[in-house]
């Protein structure tokens, strides 16, 4: 190929090279033959890798050479590091938040005025897997009762529940024989959260599991609920369990929020020593993703929604999370 492109007719006289001419490069993607193109691409890739390795070695040598004066190691970027700052993040000492929490619907629970009593039910005609999941869930959550829903409308059973002193209603929605949704409604007029549930594992599907969960009240761990929304969801989960865990039981229920996915696990722990604890997973596990949070009890048509997950607006950035 000619390398003299561009310097012709600059002056009209002898072509004085006023610009630097680069040698003709070729890009791998312009080769028409697929096999050859593939081959050239692999070769290019290998070259890149070699260069990267060499650069790394050089950096390491420099680092060792400098010894103590070396600049600190660069922190790798993770999604959690790069998370877009959410202005509703809760400070630990925020008074407004504290005040809100003292007066919201969970205040009676946290003041120990109410004892949680949970009603677990499913959508119509539950299949075996869902039924078993409900049973296992009721062993995990103390003071919970499973009732079959035989075609009853939620709006009608809610007043009945309130009359019988239930504090929370948990509806597990099923689709194609697997549970895929969860509606958690705090009863006397409390918020309703609708989750999408995925990766449900029943007890028998968990490897290396322990014995059945006992009747002791488990402890609770709530991780990573940072924003206001996350805070209220966390309190909602906390209000499912009785306030006073029984440490003899050595059971712990964990709700861990990571990138808007809430992972639920149920473990039995034992302290082998000061610094070591062993945990053994019992009980079902599942992950939840919040879809909507409604202010009143479950009412899909006229309810007042505090937060709905709108895919188009909220899923635009990969570094933005809401919980």
């Amino acid at each position: 190929g000619g390398g003299a492109a561009g310097s012709v007719a600059e002056d009209g006289g002898p072509p004085a090279p006023q610009r630097v001419l680069f040698p003709p490069t070729f890009s791998v993607s312009e080769i028409k033959n697929k096999q050859r193109r593939h081959f050239m691409f692999l070769r290019w890739k290998q070259q890149q890798r070699k260069e990267k390795l060499a650069a790394k070695k050089k950096r390491r040598k420099e680092r060792e050479a400098l010894g103590d004066k070396a600049p600190p190691k660069a922190i790798p970027k993770t999604i959690e590091n790069q998370r877009v700052y959410d202005e509703t993040t809760v400070d630990l000492n925020d008074e407004e938040v504290a005040f809100d929490e003292a007066t919201d619907e969970f205040a009676p629970y946290f003041n120990r005025q109410t004892v949680p009593k949970i009603l677990i039910t499913t959508s119509d005609r539950p299949r075996g897997r869902t039924v078993r999941f409900c049973e296992q869930l009721s062993t995990v959550i103390p003071n919970s009762h499973v009732y079959y829903r035989r075609g009853l409308a939620l709006k009608r059973i809610i007043p009945q529940c309130i009359a019988r002193d239930f504090t929370d209603l948990l509806v597990i929605n099923e689709d194609r024989k697997i549970p895929n949704g969860l509606v958690l409604s705090h009863l006397p007029d409390g918020p309703t959260a609708h989750f999408r549930m995925s990766s449900v594992r029943l007890r028998k599907e968990i490897k290396r599991k322990g014995k059945e969960p006992t009747e002791h009240v488990p402890e609770i761990i709530l991780n990573n609920f940072t924003t206001r929304l996350g805070h209220s969801v966390g309190r909602m989960f906390a209000s499912l369990f009785p306030h006073d865990p029984q440490f003899i039981g050595r059971q712990v229920a964990t709700f861990h929020n990571q990138r808007d996915y809430i992972f639920f696990r149920f473990h039995r722990y034992i302290f082998k020593s000061e610094k070591k604890v062993g945990i053994q997973e019992l009980g079902p596990r599942f992950t939840l993703k919040l879809r909507s949070l409604q202010k009143g009890t479950f009412d899909s048509k006229f309810g007042e929604y505090e937060w709905i997950h709108k895919r188009r607006e909220m899923d635009t950035s990969r570094r933005k999370f809401h919980l």
Partner: protein, 290 residues
């Protein structure tokens, strides 16, 4: 000529409305009375034919006679049937008077079936319907992938273990686990590191307690943490401290001290020290290092 039509379409050659299965032939023609492919049920092969069809919840009787065979546009005559079941049956009878028995009978049967399923539709719409929401494949895949990555990033086991150890350190478990010395030293170190200007009284007190422990006295451990925040147990350290305190739960927990089925291997032996008193008499016991 209907016989000719049947000979051609029915059994021998191709009919586009015919569906064959192993045991039976079906007819897909929308004017077919029974749905099967028979000589008497084929609307193409019978010049005199009638059907019942429903549109938007109302039933109509369609009739085809040989006189209109030349006018395809006017071929099928349509009669609206009344909503009343018996009256509609009478209307069918009077419209199909002098028609073959087979067609009359099948028409009435079809009409009955149609009204029954219309009733069922109306009943079902009153009950709660399952709302079918279409899944979007791309989104489902994306969510699944993100969930997997989040799971890996979460490192759940580590997080839970860390949290439990934190709680142990913060002495939320109180009396149950007997690793007091270490935690105590740690607490000491912490205090040293944080504020050296703290009151000496406190320090001395702690030293005393330390000594106490080493003297093999049944320490009460109630000076250490208190069940300050039961609420700490349910909220992670990131949530703010609850103002409420709970004190009466201590009783139940110290009761639980009795049951320690698995604390055998976890139980630490206290270092056994005997204090040697300098006296005239030779001490008979040896001291062991701490």
């Amino acid at each position: 000529s209907s016989q000719v039509v049947w000979d051609v379409l029915g059994n021998k050659q191709f009919c586009s409305y015919k569906i064959t299965t192993k045991t039976q032939n079906f007819c897909r023609n929308e004017y077919n009375l029974t749905g099967l492919c028979n000589r008497s049920s084929c609307p193409l092969a019978n010049s005199q034919y009638a059907t019942i069809r429903e549109e938007k919840g109302r039933c109509y009787l369609y009739m085809k006679v040989i006189e209109r065979a030349a006018f395809p546009r006017r071929l099928w005559e349509r009669v609206l049937l009344s909503k009343n079941y018996e009256k509609a049956l009478e209307e069918i009878d009077e419209n199909l008077i002098y028609w073959p028995r087979f067609i009359r009978h099948k028409c009435k049967q079809r009409f009955t079936k149609i009204t029954q399923y219309l009733i069922r539709i109306r009943k079902l719409t009153l009950k709660r319907q399952r709302k079918l929401v279409p899944l979007r494949r791309k989104i489902e895949r994306r969510e699944k992938r993100r969930e997997e990555k989040a799971l890996i990033a979460a490192q759940l086991d580590n997080a839970i273990e860390k949290e439990l150890l934190e709680r142990l350190k913060q002495d939320t478990y109180g009396d149950i686990y007997n690793f007091p010395i270490h935690a105590f030293d740690k607490a000491l170190q912490q205090q040293d590191a944080e504020s050296e200007s703290e009151s000496d009284a406190e320090k001395e007190e702690e030293d005393d307690e330390d000594m106490d422990k080493r003297e093999f006295v049944e320490a009460d451990d109630s000076e250490l943490s208190d069940f300050e925040d039961m609420d700490k147990l349910e909220t992670s350290s990131e949530e703010e401290q609850e103002e409420e305190e709970e004190v009466e739960k201590k009783a139940s927990r110290s009761k639980s001290k009795g049951k320690t089925p698995l604390k055998g291997p976890a139980r630490r032996k206290r270092p056994y020290i005997e204090i040697e008193y300098e006296e005239e008499t030779e001490p008979s016991t040896k001291t062991k290092a701490a």
